[in-house]
Each structure stands twice: as structure tokens, then as C-alpha cells.
Symmetry: C2
């Protein structure tokens, strides 16, 4: 070799050692399993899409972050989310799909963001959406919330709150108060937890809103209480704006059905401050907070949109969905020591032949363990015994079976528990039972 | 929306409907499961690498096919295989890894190939490799073969043959026969099944090889028989070239250990014609053929290499591994009707409320099914009954539970088998038992 290139990856990309990768995959498998149990089906759109497909929806910051390139006559780009590919997919295969169309996709997306700690340029999104044909019952909004609940419960991140709100209520309120720049006002409202009441009032004053209306807004965003209490407050506000009233009805129906989905009341709340930045939400919106780690921000967000695929089809396709940014979530949970890796390998048993004379026999023992469903491997290198045991130690393999000529002859094997150091002579059947103990 | 963009993807990219995606994922899960059972651990390298990392190894056709682009000050490229990222990974994290390092990676790779039927520009590779530190026993070559065996056995593609050969034998033979352009001769040998003996002889004549040596080569590539017979033939060739002899010893050791791994003799063979195009193989090489579908070509290939990461480190890292090009394999199996999709959904039971008055109760029934491990969903749209049943029919959902007021009151539910049309009143427990029947 003439020269050596320093082995490294680009900044802003996550790459894990096997110990963390195992942990990451466990989380991803859990999310996938919950999605599938709920009857969401997989799709896997290409990483590379036609540039025009992605640009139809991009714009602003997203367009700047897009990885774009050419190859042959084609203008290409890497997907920046999974929603635009979903819209394109549903429009493209519309005649072949059944509606409501329930799909999940767990895939990497790409954004050429400014490098920052905890922000990634390549990251996994875990998305579910339910897409209706022309119509989609608001009960689906309650089901999506129940899926979020089941995900975080199964991930054993149990102290979490799913916050919901409804965009129609926000838009209706803005219309009622005749706010000119409603986007700016909503942004201010969204920040009340971060910057406090005083600063929100300051920002609202700049927007040329009367003191009476500012009071109304501040009162509105500060509502706390049970879902029923908040709905009752909203109904009592005396705003007969049609959109506002529609929003209350949707929210009330979602709350009613959440009970049937048996989501405990401690795990969800109506939070009138949440707004969600994305323009296309038109009804229910979701954010999910880990209560002991609020600084992480929302770990699962989404909402209801009236028309998914207007750029690609004339069909009206309303939908509701959420997304988990798994790469960032994993990074934050690891940084905060909320999750910890336990082993550098999936292997539960290492079978060590004392020397070459027992290697063949050891391979058979390993095969028997595997057939019983145990992840096992044979140490195949012809090195000193200490080095073999070292391999098990370094990877934190919980059990080692040591096989010399005696063991091979008698069939009574030596099982060493690497955690306790205990070593026993056992039959292969007894070993399988011992290792399979939960 | 001002304009509608035709929803489409680029040519040369695979995208599946859910029915096929479910099938594809089942194959991918099987491969992953077999890899993991054998103690291979997951890694997940970035899709985007530094251009210089990939260019170190690329060159020729690969370099032309590379998707390259710039963002900010960085020169980027999409990985074209999983071996180069593995080499970079092992060199980069060398101090933190345990050797032999057993890893698998199942990920998409990207090649801007000329568009052709059955060739893809974005496709999954499923790779396993075992990397040694300085040394790696040739027994690992036998283990890799046993992993291939277990994969295709578990995929129920049972009539397959893993062909093995050893590059040292080929190089040794070329040296012994003083062949000038050994690459050209090996390419000709590799083609004997396709183009026949006469044409191979023609090609060899062009290479300025004596008639006596041509006879030797033709005799060599036409050897058939048991592994023992072929090894005995090789030993009897009277070639005392050192590399050739080393190759025979390696091959004999692999064959000896394959027995301990209990791979049936019908599933592997020594095939002296296989060569594998990639330069870096230095010992055992593998190809896997589906016997009834030889035209598909090798569905799992790989080999032994003396030094994985020479471009990125001075450490000597020998390894052995194989790769399954899953996207292409899936495409070919589907085209040939070797595999068939059975359903457009993972859902086993659709719970249909007759109307809104039983929707809440139905949601509870669905939850009960899910808790018993059954993929279930509630039909939530308020439409005509026929349309609800149609949804189940179109997706081939095997069971439907219909819930009216009577069912809600009595707790005796109506289970309809959508395949047979049979409908029975049953308790939820009886339904769970019925649906879980294998």
C-alpha cells in the first residue's frame, strides 16, 4: 500500500460500537413490533428520489439542507423525511392500496444541517401514518395516541406525557381575536414554558394586540387540568367561530375514545401551548415528553393533516401520523444514562475447546445450543487458554463452556458463569436449562 | 396547489407494495436471525462516507458508478458496498474491538449502474465477516460455509449447492504453468459452464499457452466428484508449487471441518472453475447456486482475504466473509414465482363494529387480541357494512370479528373465517385459540 488514509467518518453522523448498536437495535425492534402489532404495514421507499419530487414540498430551511446531486441525466436528492416519500407513494400506487392505508416506515433520512452536538445529518425516523380516502374518522387520532403510549410503555420509559392540542382551536382563536400575524403569535404561545409569561406578553405587544386580547391569550395558554376541565374551559370561552368550535368537538371526541384505547390518564394531557411548526397540520397535534428529562424536548411528535399528497394527485387524502427521531432520542438517552448497554455481543455462551483435539466436538456442542435458541459461538483460534477466556471477558459473554478430552469422553461439560465465577459439571440439557433461565 | 408533479421514482430503484414488502422483510429477518444466532453482532455504518475513504478502494467500474457530491466543504459519496466501510470501521475502532471480530451488516448500498432489468442502483447487501487480528484460523472458512447453509435452509430454498474453491490453488496452478496473463486465463476457466469446453480452449490458445498446458487446465476445471476425490486429484497432480500446496491444505482443512458443522454433503461441493472477480480474495472462495434456477447465478458469494484494511491501518487484519445481494435475489425469486406473497397486511384479525355504538367495545376486543400476541385492528370508519368487509377481503385478512349490540351485551362474538366463509359465535378466549392455531 502506498499510503494510509486516516479512517474516520464525517461530522454529524452517528456510528456505534456493537455494544451500543445492540441497544439501538433493541429500541428499533420494539418500535417496529408495536407498530406491526397494531396492523401497520411496512414500506421501504428509496433513499434517493427525483429532485423534483422532494422539492415540491421542501422550501426554506429544508431545501437548503437537501443533499442534491446529478448522475447521468438525472437530478437526484436524498430524502429529508419520510412524509414526502409517503405522499408520493400513496399518490403513485393509489389504485392498488386499500384505505384507510396504515403504514410504518423506519428508515434513515438526510439533512445537511449545521453541525451541532446532538443534531445529526443522517438519522432514523420511525413513522406511522393512517391515510384515508376522502375521509378519515377522528377516532384514528385517538388510536395514534394509544400507539405512542404503547411504544413508550414497552420501551420502559414509563414516566412520559403525551400532550395533545388541536390546530383548529388555535386558528379559530387567532381569527376570533383578529390577529394579523398568527404564525408569530402561535410561536410566542409555544414558548411560554421556556421564556415565561412576562416575555410572551412582551412579544405579543409587539404584534399590535390589545391588552384585553393579550389577557385572553395568556389565560388560554395557562390552562391546566384534566382533559374534561380544559374542554369545558374552551366551551365556556364564548367564541362562536366555526373552526374553533370544530376543533373543540374533535378534541372532545379524541379524549372520549382515548378511554376505550385504555391509555391511563396520567400519560396524556391537553396542552394548549403546543403548536408544532409544520404548516400542514390541520387538526390534532401531538408531542411526547419524558417527564424527568424535559430538556430533551418532544421525543415523538406529529398530527392530523387534511391533504397528504396534493402536490402529486388530485385525490383528497387526509391522514394522521407521528414520527420518532430515533437517532437523536437514542443519543440523548445514552448521554443522560437513561439507557445503558450491557454487553458487547449477542452471544450468550462461548464454547471453548482446550485444543484442536476437541474443536470438532465443541462445534457440535455449539450447534446444539443454537438449536435450542441460544446465541452461541465456538472459539476457533488456536491460542493460549487465557486468551480464549479473555475474549469472553472483554465481550461480557455471560457463560463459557470449556471442553477438554475428559468432557468430550464423558459428555459432562464444564459450565462457567462469568459473572459469579461459579463452575459446574453438567450435561448439555442441564446447561440449556440453566442458560435459558430468565 | 398550483401544479401536480407526476409521482414516480427513478429507474433502477426497487419499491414494493406492502404485500411484497412483508415478504421481503421476512427474508431479511430470517437472514438477520441466522447471523445473530451465530454470534455475529450488528454494525450500522453511515450511508454517506468521506469520498476519500471510498475512493481508496474503488477504482475502475466502481469509481464510475460512485454517487459523489459536495456539501459545504465536504466531498461526500454514497457507499457502494459494505466491505469498504467495514475496513474503515475496524481500522478506526481497532483498540475497542475484540478479535476475532464477528459482525453482520444488512444495509442498502448504491451504484450508479447502467439501467438493466434485474439490476438495481440501490440495493440491500447482507454481509457477515469474521476479522482476525494478525491471524485467523481457516476453520472460520468452514463456519462461514455453515452459516450460508443455515440461511438457505431456513429460507426453505433447500435445493442449493455451495461451491467452494481456493484462490491459492488457482494462483499456484498459473505460476506452475507459467501463464503470463493469469487474470485472463482464470476468467476463461470461470466461463466453462457458460460457453463450453471448445470455446474455453479457443480463448486459452489466444493466451499463448501450450497444448499440453491447455489439456492440464481443461482437465483441472472439469474435475467432478466428492470433495475427497477432488482433493486427492489435486494432490496427485504433481505440482510442488508452494502456494498450490498451501491451497490444497486449506481446502482439505475446510472440508474436514465442514463435517463437524454438520453441513450435508449434498449442499456443498468443490468447484475448481469458480474464481470470483474481486482481487482481494486470497484463499477460500464461495458461490451459492439454487439448483433449479442456475440462471440466477450465485445468490451468496464471498471469500477469504489476507488483509482487510491496508488502506486505513498498518495492522494486518485477515478475514473471511460472504454477502447476499438481497434486493436482486428477492427480485429474481419473485419473477420466477419461487416465492409468493400471501397477504397485503400483517393483520390477522379485523374487528368490525356494526356502528358507532359498538366501536368503543370493539377497540377493547382488539386490545385483548393484541395482548395475546395477535396482530389485530379495529375498522374505525363509519361506512356501510359491505365496505368494511371489503377492506378485509381486499387485504386478505384471514379473520373478521363482527360486533353488534347483541355481541356487546352477551360477550359471545361472531368470528368469520374469510377463507372458508364459516361464521361462529365464540368467546374471546376461544377466538384467540382458534386464530393462534398454526
Amino acid at each position: 500500500m502506498s499510503r494510509t488514509i486516516k479512517p474516520s467518518i464525517l461530522p454529524g453522523f452517528m456510528e456505534l460500537l456493537p455494544s451500543d448498536q445492540i441497544l439501538f437495535n433493541q429500541m428499533m425492534d420494539t418500535i417496529r413490533d408495536v407498530y406491526e402489532k397494531h396492523g401497520f404495514n411496512p414500506i421501504d421507499t428509496p433513499v434517493i428520489e427525483k429532485e423534483e419530487i422532494l422539492l415540491a414540498k421542501a422550501g426554506g430551511e429544508t431545501e437548503k439542507q437537501l443533499y442534491r446531486f446529478e448522475k447521468g441525466d438525472n437530478k437526484l436528492a436524498l430524502r429529508f423525511d419520510l412524509t414526502v416519500p409517503l405522499a408520493r407513494y400513496v399518490a403513485q400506487y393509489y389504485p392498488e392500496l386499500s384505505f384507510p392505508f396504515r403504514r410504518y416506515q423506519i428508515s434513515k433520512v438526510f439533512r445537511g444541517e449545521k453541525a451541532q452536538r446532538g443534531r445529526f445529518r443522517e438519522f432514523y425516523q420511525c413513522d406511522i401514518d393512517i391515510i384515508g380516502n376522502e375521509e378519515l374518522s377522528v377516532i384514528n387520532d385517538a388510536e395514534i395516541l394509544s400507539v405512542i403510549y404503547n411504544i413508550f410503555k414497552t420501551l420502559k420509559l414509563s414516566d412520559f406525557t403525551i400532550r395533545i392540542n388541536n390546530r383548529k382551536i388555535l386558528y379559530g382563536l387567532m381569527a376570533e381575536l383578529q390577529v394579523k400575524d398568527s404564525a408569530a403569535v402561535l410561536r410566542s404561545m409555544d414558548k411560554i414554558e421556556k421564556i415565561g409569561q412576562e416575555n410572551v406578553i412582551k412579544e405579543l405587544k409587539k404584534e399590535d394586540i390589545s391588552d384585553a386580547n393579550i389577557s385572553k391569550i395568556v389565560d388560554f395558554v395557562q390552562q391546566k387540568g384534566s382533559p374534561e376541565e380544559i374542554i369545558s374551559y374552551l366551551r365556556g370561552m364564548g367564541i362562536d367561530n366555526e373552526v374553533f368550535q370544530k376543533g373543540i368537538e374533535e378534541l372532545a371526541e379524541v379524549v372520549e375514545y382515548i378511554k376505550y384505547f385504555q391509555v391511563p390518564q396520567e400519560n396524556y394531557t391537553i396542552d394548549l401551548t403546543i403548536v408544532r411548526g409544520l404548516d400542514y397540520y390541520t387538526g390534532t397535534i401531538y408531542e411526547t415528553m419524558l417527564n424527568d428529562y424535559q430538556s430533551i424536548g418532544s421525543v415523538c411528535s406529529g398530527g392530523r393533516y387534511e391533504n397528504l399528497a396534493g402536490y402529486y394527485t388530485d385525490k383528497k387524502l387526509p391522514g394522521v401520523g407521528v414520527s420518532i427521531g430515533l437517532t437523536r432520542l437514542f443519543y440523548q438517552l445514552r448521554e443522560s444514562n437513561i439507557i445503558k448497554n450491557e454487553s458487547s455481543t449477542l452471544t450468550k455462551v462461548l464454547v471453548i475447546p482446550m485444543d484442536r483435539s476437541t474443536t470438532g466436538y465443541s462445534i457440535g456442542v455449539t450447534k446444539g445450543l443454537r438449536e435450542a435458541g441460544i446465541v452461541a459461538e465456538t472459539y476457533l483460534e488456536d491460542v493460549k487458554f487465557k486468551k480464549k477466556l479473555n475474549y469472553a471477558n472483554k465481550l461480557s459473554i455471560p457463560y463459557v463452556i470449556i471442553i477438554g478430552t475428559d468432557e468430550m469422553t464423558s459428555g459432562s461439560l464444564s459450565l462457567k458463569n462469568m459473572l459469579t465465577g461459579q463452575q459446574d459439571q453438567m450435561t448439555i440439557d442441564a446447561i440449556i436449562k440453566e442458560v435459558q433461565k430468565p
